[in-house]
Assembly symmetry: C2
Amino acid sequence: MSENGKKDVLLEVDDSVRETARNLVQAARYGALATLSTNDGYPQCTRVGLATFKDGTPFIFISALAAHTGALLADPRCALLVGEPGKGDPLAHPRISLSCRAEVVAPHLNDAKQARKIYLEAHSKAQLYIDLPDFRFFRLVLVKASFNGGFGRAYALSTADLMMQI
Amino acid sequence: MSENGKKDVLLEVDDSVRETARNLVQAARYGALATLSTNDGYPQCTRVGLATFKDGTPFIFISALAAHTGALLADPRCALLVGEPGKGDPLAHPRISLSCRAEVVAPHLNDAKQARKIYLEAHSKAQLYIDLPDFRFFRLVLVKASFNGGFGRAYALSTADLMMQI
């Protein structure tokens, strides 16, 4: 039992689980981002476009005009849910919840050029707004993750479980 | 300009916007729920199954074994994102972010019977787990909402904008 008494519902992580979880993150083109509101401490939940660096770190592309950007600049703690349901019970489909710290990718750095290239490969329509001055890339540095493969199939994943071997 | 200087990006709410936003919530069978972790204050983001009461209030059906349930019992502040993307740019599709306070629907009350009936109509597969003892309905009492109809079409909505006239 863990300190919160929930350990017994978690299954053991193996390589197959790691691969499925990594693939889910790599394949995601958007997700739900949870941030902490700067006004009232409520969590906020917004849709964001995303892609992943080669090492497996997800990054998002967001506008300074949106509430989540101010929230992340004030408090970088966030969560990202990826993995979309198909037909049938939405809870039977795999999804992963990442706990992250968001970091601005400084526009003059090589990482920003890399992010721009990867993002446009994943989001061809983003060509329309990729160079707008209010948009920035934020790297979501993984802290831990919770993978839910469907009913009764929950796993706690570490950063190492999710990062790519490069 | 509002105090956070973002007022100028919000459009005026009219009846058509209210109707579109209400329909989006009414039609949603699942959403992304943001809660506040009891362990470290990080936001959490998880998928939840949902339906709505006749007055327009959404409710979710969650297990005590899941982290979001403990989080909501400790701090009822949460957010719910609904409205799923279709083809093309995921950010071009309408979605709504609700700020809410979660309240347990006491199992012995008529509201719980009502919730059970409505939930099963929306989720026939939930018959498999609707009566498991660790599951509870939580009403998500609306505080405010942010409706994003696609690029450049953002609206701040009040509870009155989203509730049904019954």
